[in-house]
Amino acid sequence: MTAPPLHLAVALDAAGWHPAAWRAEDARPADLFRAEYWADLVTEAERGLLDFVTFEDALGVQSAAFHRPDDRVDQVRGSLDAVLLAARVAPLTTHIGLVPTANLTHTEPFHVSTGLATLDYASTGRAGLRPQIASRAADADHFGRRTTPRLTDEDVRDPERIGRRLSPLFDEAADAVEVVRRLWDSWEDDAEIRDAATGRFIDRDKIHHIDFEGEHFSVRGPAIIPRPPQGQPPVMSLAHASVPYEFAARAADAVWITPHDRAGAEAVLAQVDTAVRRTGRDTRARPLLRFAEVLVFLDAEPGAAARRKARLDDLDGAPLASDAEVFTGTPGELADLLLDWREAGLDGFRLRPGALPHDLVGITRGLVPELQRRGAFRTAYDATTLRGHLRLPRPGSRYARAS
């Protein structure tokens, strides 16, 4: 029996995931806030037939510290809104999924829902949502409406501790995702009728108030935009500990995890399974895809990727630190690693290019052909929507009455 093809995504972030990547030779640091830069990256990813690209984002300026701002000026600081960035490249591409990060702690779920539905229309069914909570207390000051837990240096050494300290925010975010999805469902697929005889543009019986009442907020609905092409754009979340695994089990269609080897992947997936059981989710009815993350430096010549990373480490003044496994090597070696880890029960990978565009091109023109040769990756897109690529069924509206 042959395994189903891998799902492969690339995580786009500024000049790449190495903090000194913007100083690499082929980097374009002056273009990071220009649309052309992002268009070039996403079209390259699409040339590589990847399932989707993700766009990182946060409500605060980047920092070397997880939990608080720093004052470094030798790393990329500054970013654009990821939903708008994804929309900006949508008309320039035709197949690849576009998954922006959106914050759910300080924003209105109503706006997030409408924005993602709009992206789904503009991309004709290629939008996904990566919900994020605001883990930095400083972000709350940008809004001035509330405070959030302030993580200590001790907290951030242990993902389990972070998860526990932030668990109220995860609960709230799960409510927000629920609101986002209900709003997507609030128009049944065929609510627009254009019935000239009665003068009615819509069938009001097919558009529903969502009447969400939660601990933190209530939202009446319905949406102001019809149901998006995918019904519900897939929701995907990054998770490192039990509380966020449980968030993924409640709220997500895919979870991204950060193991460091195959055994680690097995261990984390067991924890994800536990979280799924705790939440009572039936994954046959609502599949939860499992992706692992790897931060990659790729060069065809053996040893070159490691040397390149070492040069960037030197420029930055410290070896690269990451929550995810850092890989340096050839496309063949990376293919070996991915196919080995997959045995733990993974559906795919979200790869973080160490430096852009270099390591993206390494993925699209090195890794992808290598995986194709091994029969582990598609040789052409066979779907046009992100759900199609991920083999996730299109859900019906929860409000549609069986009649």
């Binding site: 500054g78 900006r88 209105e108 709009t118 001035g144 003068g199 819509i202």
Partner: protein, 458 residues
């Protein structure tokens, strides 16, 4: 042929809007396509750009309207989120300005400033923001903040919201992104630092998004109340209005422009653009007949009754739309149509006016609603329309118009193909864009960055 520079005549500014809700869109027309598919927006925006329009504008409504306690099903409803949609449209246009309506009551300045700065970056300096306030708690039910603000507080919050957004845009100076790889300097120290402590907002920290290409995205205002006009005079680059009859338009124009001096501004720093509709055909007579047809499609018998109910505050479904007005009086308190701004004040007065008009002219319910809906603004052969638009602008009624076509998405095609060339021949409309940004199109200066003072790190 003389160019615009030599004629000495006022230059016309044109914007286009994709019609949504209300009853402008004639969706029953076989040429009418989706109100929500990206393709519709692409077509209209590209047509506007082909016609060298200043900008493309999207309205916003954050709750579906309700009539007699149910969703109002005669509305053309369903619209995208403005900033996301305009960002996608930035990919399929190169010069056209992109104007988003974004409510200042149900958003927070940090997020809106960031998203507008992003749109300005991703469009190369073409972003604009129509700052609106909401008038009811009905819309607030969709938001965490909930509730709503009293009329007097709405513009106070909006003004502080805008001031805060400007502080955020100013928190990065020009050149704060150094991107100097050799020196290892990506940003200037302290870039993005801000602190604002006021009546409505107490925010501080570091803004994530470098200074937008235009300095500040263009600011638009569309309120008509006294406080709204004052806010426009003090803060806005563009004002929308609904006054598209020349006499009313001139009064509004004079009033708003006269307020500018108080804020140390000159009249050309604020462009006034009424909403207008256009019906063009080969001859004036054909256009008049077509305009009549459009208007009757916009005000269906059901729509006519619904409009009357909104003013009367009563169920009038038993009345004949082709018959006379009801002899019963309006209900004092009932709000039949929720989420509609038109009838929020003076319903009794409106009703008295309508009754008088109907009696004087012997109008049926439907004819009355057609009459008070205003019909089409400019109707005629291409030359007639071009002359009328030019006359309107040259005689102090407006600086230009926001055109709302009745057909999605092809409703602007005729205007661009047949009327725009005539305006260009008259020397009152550009033949090509003279600059890349919306501020260039509008003849507004780029907002200069504040002097780059060395910023302390606290």
């Amino acid at each position: 042929m003389s160019g615009p520079e030599t004629t000495g005549r006022k230059q016309i500014h044109l914007a286009a809007q994709l019609p949504g809700i209300h009853n402008v869109t004639v969706w029953s027309d076989p040429r009418s396509r989706s109100q929500i598919a990206f393709e519709s927006f692409r077509h209209l925006a590209r047509t506007a750009e082909r016609g060298r329009f200043d900008f493309f504008f999207l309205a916003e409504g954050l709750r579906l309207r309700e009539h007699k306690g149910q969703l109002y099903d005669l509305d053309v409803v369903g619209r995208p989120e403005n900033l996301t949609q305009l960002s996608a449209l930035a990919a399929v246009t190169t010069r056209l300005g992109l104007a988003a309506t974004v409510n200042a009551t149900f958003n927070e300045p940090y997020e809106v400033a960031r998203r507008l700065a992003t749109l300005d970056h991703l469009s190369g300096g073409r972003a604009a923001w129509n700052v609106v306030t909401s008038f009811d708690a009905f819309t607030g039910e969709n938001f965490r903040r909930g509730g709503f603000l009293a009329e007097s507080d709405r513009y106070a919050r909006a003004a502080e919201f805008l001031a805060t957004a400007r502080e955020l845009w100013d928190s990065w100076a020009e050149g704060d992104v150094r991107a100097d790889a050799a020196a290892g300097a990506f940003v200037r120290p302290g870039a993005g630092r801000f602190a604002h402590h006021g009546e409505h907002f107490a925010v501080s920290g570091r803004f994530t998004t470098p200074r937008p290409p235009q300095g500040h995205p263009v600011v638009i205002q569309a309120g008509e109340s006294g406080p709204g006009r004052e806010f426009a005079a003090a803060e806005a680059d563009v004002v929308f209005s609904k006054y598209n009859r020349l006499d009313q338009a001139r009064a509004f124009y004079r009033d708003v422009k006269s307020r500018l001096a108080r804020y140390g501004r000159t009249p050309d720093q604020l462009k006034i653009l009424p909403t207008a509709t256009v019906v063009v055909a080969d001859s004036d007579a054909e256009a008049a007949a077509y305009a009549d047809e459009i208007t009757r499609a916009q005000v269906s018998p059901q729509t006519a009754i619904a409009h009357l109910e909104a003013v009367w505050g009563r169920d009038l479904s038993g009345y004949d739309p082709d018959g006379p007005l009801p002899d019963i009086d309006p209900a004092p308190d009932a709000q039949m149509l929720k989420g509609h701004s038109l009838f929020r004040r003076d319903r009794d007065e409106i009703a008295r006016g309508w009754r008088a008009l109907a009696e004087e002219r012997q109008l049926s319910i439907r004819d009355l609603v057609i009459e008070v809906s205003g019909g089409q603004t400019f109707v005629g052969a291409p030359g007639t329309v071009a002359d009328a638009i030019d006359h309107f602008v040259q005689t102090g009624g407006a600086d230009g118009f926001v055109l709302v076509p009745h057909l999605t998405p092809g409703g602007l095609d005729d205007f661009v193909d047949r009327v725009v060339p005539l305006l260009q021949e008259k020397g009152v409309f550009r033949r090509d864009y003279t600059g890349p940004t919306l501020r260039d199109h509008l003849g507004l200066r780029h907002e200069p960055a504040p002097a780059p003072v060395p910023k302390e790190t606290p």
